[in-house]
């Protein structure tokens, strides 16, 4: 399966999707397998992707993102803009009009009261996982039964946080009314079987195992969904999911197949299904620690801005480490068609993607010369030193076969330019967990360099880029909870961020965003991006209508799926 055939697969699916007309429930059963099993169907009580994606077939937001990252209305009549008057000219409010005649799956009408309730549900005293989506919102009010106005404290150039995308779907007020505050724990039945407006209805939910669904009789499009029932199985691993879809044909859709390219190709050659790939904003990167992680420092100083890194604070070292890496080769081995080498922290959408490609060619000699010029001389054992300091780094990441291959290759290249590397891999649930007592979290960063993937929701990178503000670094004072993992601090960067916050013009926003991206990457080598990671999922040959989407839930158009005879 090469890029060409992958692309053909996607094009073919779209072409077929538009031509198919079927009756609701005429295509029998469809099977979906996620190797992470959903735990709960209420995204406000869980941040997990598996929970958000599975619930997106049942409960919906006002608008969503399509496979190109463009917004389209779901429960709203249209996407509000300044142009159509939906967004006030001072950018401080947005008004949504709800499609008339939408029914909940229990037959009751969907109204603005449900939207209001959902806002209160999340922002009530007990808090919720999606609070950040409602940041800056002062009030949500119903102008009438089908109109909702959301007001913000400050001008919001991007007011599409609340009720857009799959994280903030609308809950039915009648169902969840008695489930607010501390009582929401007791609402197991509601959380496992929310009443929704989506194409499917839950018939049985077994947490962390399987969901059985059937078509929603009250779905707004009378001819959809084509499938009468659905089995949504969870568990196993990515290889098992790929096998069940592409080799045995037991399931129709397999989610997020993080597998070596050879393995995916081999599975696809069985001829029962095919992989699909699409690119979002996920970037595998090296994070340089600008502060000193040495274990000889006391706990209040280690890996904080009180002590800068002995050699990584030298830009020449960071640059040389980046130059020594062959990103094309790494990506080919680790991800195949599901990855692209990149030098950008923000690889997309196109508006925000900088034309920064300088890092793509490996330059071992150049890296050596750079280090040499900066005074780092090779010692007897080949490791460069300067003022008695050895270029010896501890390079950590989470446990994952591809990441360990990356580590091995990068260690080899760094060895060639005279940098000694100690590798460490850590249990993912410890590494990505935020236990302040553990020395092994990515926030604490008790290493010189670490590698992982990060991503941002939706299409606007403002919040993502704001992470690198001075003072936002994890430290003992904030319980290691900051987002500025590199402990980067540049007043010019902060000033530019403030400008981005006040800019509404898209072109201008793009320009500032690209500049911010460059400051973190090619200007300072604080973040050394390696691979723009695509999403690979698989569908069986008999499943039509699938369009892989990385900007919203993968099941964003599940109502359009159908059986190819």
């Amino acid at each position: 399966m090469k890029i060409k055939s992958l692309a053909l697969g996607i094009v073919g699916a779209i072409a077929l999707g538009s031509s198919a007309v079927a009756d609701r429930g005429s295509d029998g059963n469809v099977g979906i397998i996620y190797w992470q099993a959903p735990s709960i169907l209420n995204p406000y009580l869980s941040g997990g992707t598996k929970d958000i994606e599975s619930s997106s077939m049942v409960i919906e937001a006002l608008a969503g993102y399509d496979n190109n990252g463009a917004m389209f209305p779901r429960l709203a009549t249209e996407v509000p803009t300044v142009g159509n008057g939906g967004i006030s000219s001072d950018l401080k409010s947005i008004t949504w009009n709800i499609k008339p005649g939408i029914l909940w799956s229990d037959g009751s009408p969907f109204t603005s009261a449900d939207v209001l309730f959902t806002y209160d549900y999340c922002m009530g005293e007990a808090g919720c996982y999606q609070e950040a989506k409602f940041e800056g919102v002062t009030t949500v009010e119903a102008l009438d039964n089908l109109t909702v106005k959301i007001s913000f404290a400050d001008p919001m150039p991007n007011p599409y946080g609340p009720f857009v995308g799959s994280q903030t779907p609308i809950l039915q007020k009648a169902q969840f009314e008695n489930c607010t505050g501390t009582r929401r724990q007791e609402c197991t039945e509601e959380n496992f079987g929310p009443i929704g407006t989506g194409p499917f209805v839950v018939t049985e939910f077994k947490p962390n195992d399987v969901i059985q669904l059937k078509a929603n009789d009250n779905y707004r499009d009378a001819s959809k969904p084509a499938f009468a029932t659905m089995v949504f199985k969870g568990g196993g691993d990515a290889a098992a999911a790929g096998r069940a879809v592409m080799e045995t044909g037991e399931y129709d859709y397999g989610w997020n197949l993080q597998l070596a390219p050879e393995v995916i190709n081999q599975m696809a050659s069985a001829g029962k299904g095919q992989p699909l790939a699409a690119f979002g904003t996920a970037v595998e990167r090296l994070e340089m620690n600008m502060t000193d992680p040495s274990s000889s420092l006391d706990a209040d100083t280690r890996s904080t801005r009180k002590a800068l890194h002995p050699f990584l604070s030298d830009i020449n070292v960071r640059k040389a480490l980046s130059m020594a890496i062959d990103r094309t080769l790494l990506t080919e081995i680790g991800y195949g068609v599901a990855g692209k080498p990149t030098c950008n922290l923000v690889p997309g959408p196109e508006l925000y993607a900088s034309d920064n490609t300088g890092c793509l060619t490996q330059d071992i000699e150049g890296a050596k010369a750079l280090l040499e010029g900066a005074g780092w001389k090779a010692g007897a054992d080949g490791v460069r030193t300067k003022d008695g300091m050895r270029l010896s780094v501890l390079y950590q990441t989470s446990t994952n076969a591809v990441r360990q291959d990356y580590q091995a290759l990068i260690k080899e290249w760094w060895g060639q330019i005279g940098v000694e590397t100690e590798l460490r891999n850590l249990n993912a649930s410890v590494f990505f967990g935020g236990d302040p007592a553990s020395p092994d979290t990515y926030q604490k960063f008790y290493a010189d360099i670490e590698m992982y993937t990060n991503i941002f929701d939706g299409t606007d990178p403002q919040a993502y880029l704001s992470a690198y503000r001075c003072g936002n670094e994890p430290s003992p004072e904030n319980g290691w909870a900051g987002e500025n993992i590199n402990r980067y601090c540049d007043p010019a960067y902060d000033k530019l961020l403030d400008e981005l916050k006040m800019t509404a013009d898209l072109e201008k926003r793009g320009e500032i965003g690209r500049k911010l991206n460059d400051m973190l990457t090619k200007d300072s080598y604080t973040i050394v991006p390696l691979t723009w990671r695509g999403r690979v999922s698989a569908r069986s040959n008999s499943l039509g209508g699938v369009v892989l989407n990385t900007w919203d839930t993968e099941l964003w158009n599940v109502e359009d799926w159908y059986r190819i005879d």
Partner: protein
């Protein structure tokens, strides 16, 4: 014997409370964050708020006491209510999973059927195969049967299920297409056809697990039989003119059962604990999968509850083993 059993049962209560406290401390000492699997796109301050909502801010002894009351007082009431349709437990807080926001016990009950079907069956199959192999291998030591048995069980034991499971799936599901690779937990056995399907979906996980059990038990059976076959009492029994069958099955077997009983008693609680890797490979989603999932997600109430139920079974079955020793060998006295 009776006083011994009563004494042991009474002693079990403080023991179990102590074990519960140890598990609780261990879980809290381990690096844990229930927000570990939450995407990085959710900002740290929201995560902090969610942690507090889970009650993580409370002092440890308060959290532990709450759990003890819920486990020993509220949950049994729920059970009584379920049995007799009463309402003792109304309004009382049960043990809730952090991950699913639902009562831990409900999920355990939901998962018991597949766990018992697959893991329990594999244990029975494993024992049924292991005992004859062990006995006959010892009786005909160094015969071809013994050599083949040794070879197969030892290779079987050294091949971990993460490999043997995938291997049988590739062979029987992918290449031959005979058996399903994904275990269907929604499947209900109502007639012959559905029973056949249940049989087909169980056969691979059961055999993979049984291989491990068989290897272990047959080795202990064999070595213990060997020890006894050369004892004087066997010679005496033979000299008395008893048939070989009687000598082997009544005299030798009974005296050789002590280590085997120990191993089996150690294994039965682990049926309940599930088989983490095999369950994952075949997507059985039993209690083992629930436990490992909860550990990864740092869902402490679930981990604590399942581990503790596991501990109860360990204590009970080790007691049963001790009683059986006394029956198998009346010379063993505990008083």
């Amino acid at each position: 014997m009776l006083t011994y059993i009563v004494r042991r049962l009474l002693l079990a209560i403080p023991t179990l409370l102590f074990i519960a406290a140890c598990i609780f401390l261990l879980l809290n000492l381990a690096p844990n964050d229930p927000m570990a699997q939450v995407p990085m796109t959710i900002p740290p301050d929201v995560k902090e708020k969610m942690r507090e909502a889970l009650g993580l801010g409370q002092p440890l002894h308060v959290q532990f006491l709450k759990w003890v009351i819920q486990f020993f007082w509220v949950e049994p009431q729920v059970f009584v209510d379920y049995l007799f349709n009463t309402s003792f437990s109304e309004g009382k807080q049960r043990i809730f999973s952090w991950q699913t926001r639902s009562p831990v016990m409900d999920i355990v009950v939901q998962r018991l059927p597949q766990t018992l079907w697959v893991v329990g069956m594999s244990y029975i199959v494993g024992i049924l195969i292991a005992l004859p192999i062990g006995i006959y291998s010892a009786y005909r030591q160094y015969s071809v049967f013994d050599q083949v048995g040794t070879f197969v069980t030892m290779v079987g034991y050294s091949v971990p299920p993460f490999f043997s499971g995938v291997f049988v799936i590739v062979l029987f599901s992918v290449q031959l297409g005979w058996l399903p690779s994904v275990y269907d937990t929604l499947h209900e056995v109502v007639d012959w056809e559905t029973f056949k399907y249940q049989f087909r979906q169980m056969i691979m996980p059961v055999m993979v697990l049984a291989l491990q059990t068989t290897a272990q038990i047959s080795r202990f059976m064999r070595s213990s039989m060997l020890d006894n076959l050369n004892q004087d009492y066997v010679r005496t029994a033979r000299a008395k003119g008893l048939s070989e069958w009687t000598v082997v099955t009544i005299h030798v077997l009974r005296n050789s059962m002590i280590p085997v009983v120990t191993v089996i008693a150690l294994g039965i609680p682990s049926i309940f604990g599930g088989a983490i890797i095999t369950e994952q490979v075949f997507k059985v989603n039993g209690i083992g999968q629930q436990l490992i999932n909860a550990i990864y997600a740092n869902d402490l109430p679930t981990v604590q509850t399942i581990t503790f139920m596991f501990a109860v079974l360990i204590v009970i079955f080790n007691l049963i083993a001790d009683i059986l020793y006394g029956i198998l060998d009346p010379r063993i006295r505990y008083d």
